[in-house]
């Protein structure tokens, strides 16, 4: 058994949409709508399998997918607070090859604004046991850029 570690992280992103909060909130509420925009990772559309969605407080969402490098992922989320069309609070676990790699808390806040909607997405999570090391991480923008940064540093 290797060293046990935890990495904390959080971020928040926001957008303005020229659509009502009701329409924006509805885009989160069904599997069909979510499949239209949410199943993207590393710039690729991911085919989610075994997808279940119980969109109510206490309900579970789960699905599996295969990442660009072939790693198998499983997502298991629980909804805690659903107040249409104002907010959504949920937590989720991510597994890679059946090993838990992260646990996160997420919230979506919608505010009516000038005929449209201001959306704020906030996430905070713990990433477990350094499973973001080179052997297990997906190659993607961050890895490419980490490599670039090393090259740039050496040349500067």
């Amino acid at each position: 058994m290797g060293k046990r570690t935890v990495v904390h992280g959080s971020f928040s992103v926001d957008r303005y949409y020229p659509a009502s909060p009701e329409r924006v909130f509805a885009a989160f509420g069904t599997a069909e709508a979510r499949a239209q925009w949410m199943h993207t990772w590393k710039g690729q559309h991911l085919a989610a399998t075994h997808h279940t969605l119980d969109f109510w407080p206490g309900g579970i969402e789960s699905f599996e997918c295969v990442g660009p490098s072939g790693h198998r992922y499983r997502y298991v989320g629980r909804f805690y607070d659903i107040v249409a069309p104002d907010r959504l609070v949920y937590a989720y676990e991510m597994y890679q090859e059946d090993v838990r790699i992260s646990v996160s808390l997420a919230s979506v806040q919608l505010t009516r604004d000038r005929g449209g909607t201001q959306l704020v997405y906030t996430e905070q999570g713990v990433f477990l046991d350094g499973l973001d090391g080179p052997a297990t991480r997906e190659a993607g923008v961050a890895d490419e850029l980490a490599a670039l940064e090393q090259v740039a540093f050496l040349r500067s």
Binding site: G9, S12, V13, W37, A142, E144
Partner: protein, 124 residues
């Protein structure tokens, strides 16, 4: 507290949005091999020089690159310290959500009710 969160977030926002474009990532990749003029950057890219200039401006505004004009030539170079802030698991999560929220905007626009530009068969 939300306001101060936004202030510290805004520069990272710009970097992630700058990197969300594949042409800009290609420019950053080229600059990792050393400084280059805008003309040299434009060479391999399938777009006009004016479009490349726009991409360079976005990258410079985000802090990922620096540029300096020498005579008529603008030389670009990578700002390595900026890239360190983008790396890591949280960076990947954030980048994924930047794309998802962009996709959500497209989905909302495509499914907007009463849109005059849509085909007649779509009118409910």
């Amino acid at each position: 507290m939300l306001r101060s969160m936004r202030e510290t977030r805004s520069d990272l926002d710009q970097m992630f949005q700058a990197l969300a474009d594949p042409s800009r990532r290609a420019i950053v990749a080229r600059l990792s091999e050393g400084p280059a003029s805008v003309g040299e950057l434009a060479g391999p890219l399938p777009m006009s020089l004016a479009a490349v200039v726009q991409h360079v401006k976005v990258l410079e505004a985000s802090g990922l690159i620096q540029t300096r004009k020498t005579g008529r030539v603008r030389i670009c170079r990578l700002e390595p310290a900026a890239l360190r802030r983008v790396d890591g698991w949280i960076g990947e999560q954030r980048a994924a959500w930047e794309r998802r929220l962009d996709q959500l905007g497209i989905y909302l626009a495509d499914s907007a009710p009463g849109d005059a530009s849509r085909a007649d068969t779509d009118n409910a």
